[in-house]
């Protein structure tokens, strides 16, 4: 009895969360006449890749995918590159103004992109940076949360280790990037994944900062598939959706543990 109940529950949950994905894929494999004739009939008459072909001719998928990936990788790397020395100074070095500096970093957690986008847009416009790769990457070059997490992780590294490296004649930069960075690998990997996935998926910032196909990203292009042309052709939109989601879902399947770590690491 109990087993049957939990079995039914499992089935309902699976249907609610797997069902929509299945519907997306099934729709993308059908043709327009088929959908018009029986929109809710789940089984395609035959598997058709026409919708994917149409997506590939309607938008330069490869170019958008490259833009999106390059942007997300650049942001994630830059955040790690800058968080390491900043976190090192905040965790390990004594200097005047340290408390204020740390408080200012934390204060940035309170200022989301949704608050700054209007002035950033009006700042970048006159200097010709709207519609550039820089406008997509630089504003996210520092992650306040990332800096904080790196600082926390560095607190547990013993001072003696750094002193020993100094005695061996290692430069400070070598200590930061050569000694401490490898020790923080799990933290940095979580940071990278979290940031990469967030920015790969991001719609808001690229939408407000770009109008030009050369720098636009995949989420924008897929959203535009629905707005373009006469009448909504859902099989094409769903094909675009599959193309957009598949890389992230594959990444999730491959490194599920790491991603879960990245998400649960935020518990304060």
């Amino acid at each position: 009895m109990k087993l049957r109940f939990s079995g039914i529950l499992l089935g309902v949950v699976a249907l609610l969360w797997v069902g929509p994905y299945a519907w997306m894929v099934l729709t993308s494999l059908r043709t327009l006449p088929e959908i018009v004739a029986a929109p809710a009939w789940p089984i395609p008459k035959s598997i058709q890749f026409d919708a994917y072909r149409e997506v590939l001719t309607a938008i330069p998928v490869g170019r958008y995918f490259l833009n999106t990936t390059a942007m997300a990788v650049a942001i994630a790397l830059l955040q790690i590159l800058l968080a390491l020395p900043a976190g090192y100074a905040l965790a390990k070095l004594h200097f005047v103004g340290k408390k204020v500096a740390f408080a200012l970093v934390l204060a940035c957690l309170l200022i989301p992109a949704q608050v700054t986008f209007v002035p950033v847009f009006s700042m970048l416009g006159p200097i010709g940076l709207v519609n550039t790769f820089a406008a997509l990457v630089l504003p996210f070059g520092v992650s306040a949360l990332g800096t904080f997490l790196v600082r926390q992780a560095l607190l547990s590294v013993p001072d003696e280790m750094i002193e020993a490296a100094r005695l061996d004649g290692a430069s400070e930069l070598r200590i930061v990037y050569g000694l401490l960075a490898p020790m923080l690998r799990p933290t940095l990997a979580s940071l990278f994944l979290f940031s990469f996935v967030f920015h790969y998926n991001d719609y808001f910032w690229p939408l407000v900062m770009t109008t030009d196909d050369d720098v636009r990203t995949l989420p924008l292009a897929v959203a535009l598939l629905r707005e373009q042309g006469t009448g909504v052709r859902w099989h094409i939109v769903m094909a675009g959706n599959v193309i957009l989601s598949l890389p992230v879902l594959a990444l999730f399947a491959a490194v599920q543990k790491q991603i879960l770590r990245a998400v649960t690491a935020r518990v304060g």
Binding site: L82, P85, C108, T116, V120, S122, I259
Partner: protein, 292 residues
């Protein structure tokens, strides 16, 4: 530790300071300044004092937007928290099947908002959508989920719940891992049934997770934009114009930077208030803290 050279810490912080200054603090100051001007980004800004604030207050825009954003956020937070807790309790079991279903629920959190929004637009489509067709098949008149001003905001909230429930589930699952088995066993020996064990053992231990997820998702759902932009563009008749969408529309549709900035200031103040609430609830939610 003593820095190797006295200037080292400042040099190490310089790039971070530059980015934070340029893209966080300076824009924040500009928001306040711009809110006192009328500006269309084409002609020079014109000083208007507090007129922008007067306008968003007098037109009812501010309160309307706060109301819509709050309704959306409260529905999203309450439902995703409740569902996430339920799913965490139900799915916290060994076995590949359970792991798969947990992964499926969480995957929605990992996928882009655009993909989720488009997918549900198709499912909720008034004519050929799956949900409407299913409704008609069992004899229910389907609602116009995205076209009815009384329904659309809650439809968006439901879609958002589908997307973020996996997040609260995962946090609750992590919280469940931290509960020592011995506590459950001791309670069971004392004759506590499953319900009473949940109330007296599980829930008190999960309270920190709950206040974390609750306040975090409240702040994040206050910043909702993608789902609105893709699914309803703020309509029908403004019924889904939540805060960020209202700001976006002022700038990119109406070219009113001043009005947008005044709305942004109000939005920022609200976020600060919510963060204060968050810090307070974390303090009260810590295990060992006295119940408020």
């Amino acid at each position: 530790m003593k820095p190797k050279r006295p200037l080292d810490p400042y040099l190490f912080l310089a790039p971070t300071a530059l980015v934070l200054g340029l893209f966080f603090f300076w824009p924040l100051a500009l928001v306040f300044k711009n809110s006192l001007y009328r500006w269309d980004m084409l002609t020079p800004p014109e000083w208007v004092g507090a007129a922008n604030y007067g306008q968003i207050l007098a037109s009812g825009e501010l309160w309307g937007t706060i109301g819509r954003t709050l309704s959306y956020s409260v529905v999203v937070v309450v439902l995703s928290l409740g569902l996430g807790l339920g799913l965490a309790l139900a799915l916290d079991r060994p076995g590949k099947l359970y792991a798969f279903v947990r992964g499926a629920v969480f995957s929605a959190y990992v996928v882009s908002w655009v993909a989720v929004a488009l997918l549900w637009m198709w499912i909720l489509d008034a004519d050929g959508g799956l949900l409407s067709t299913l409704c008609r098949a069992v004899g229910i008149t389907p609602k116009n989920w995205l076209g009815d001003p009384a329904v659309a905001l809650y439809t968006l909230a439901a879609v958002s719940v589908w997307k973020i429930t996996g997040y609260s589930m995962v946090i609750f699952l992590a919280g469940l891992q931290d509960i020592p088995r011995s506590l459950h066993e001791a309670a069971a020996l004392d004759g506590a049934g499953p319900f009473s064990r949940f109330l007296h053992v599980t829930w008190p231990m999960l309270r920190p997770s709950a206040s974390f997820v609750g306040t975090t998702s409240l702040i994040l759902s206050f910043q909702a934009f993608d789902v609105v932009r893709v699914m309803t563009q703020g309509g029908p008749v403004k019924s889904t114009t939540v805060f960020v969408y209202a700001i976006y529309e002022h700038v990119f549709v109406n070219l009113r930077v001043g009005r947008a900035s005044a709305m942004t200031v109000a939005f920022f103040v609200l976020l600060l208030g919510l963060t204060a609430l968050q810090l307070l609830s974390w303090r009260l939610g810590k295990p060992g803290a006295r119940r408020a």
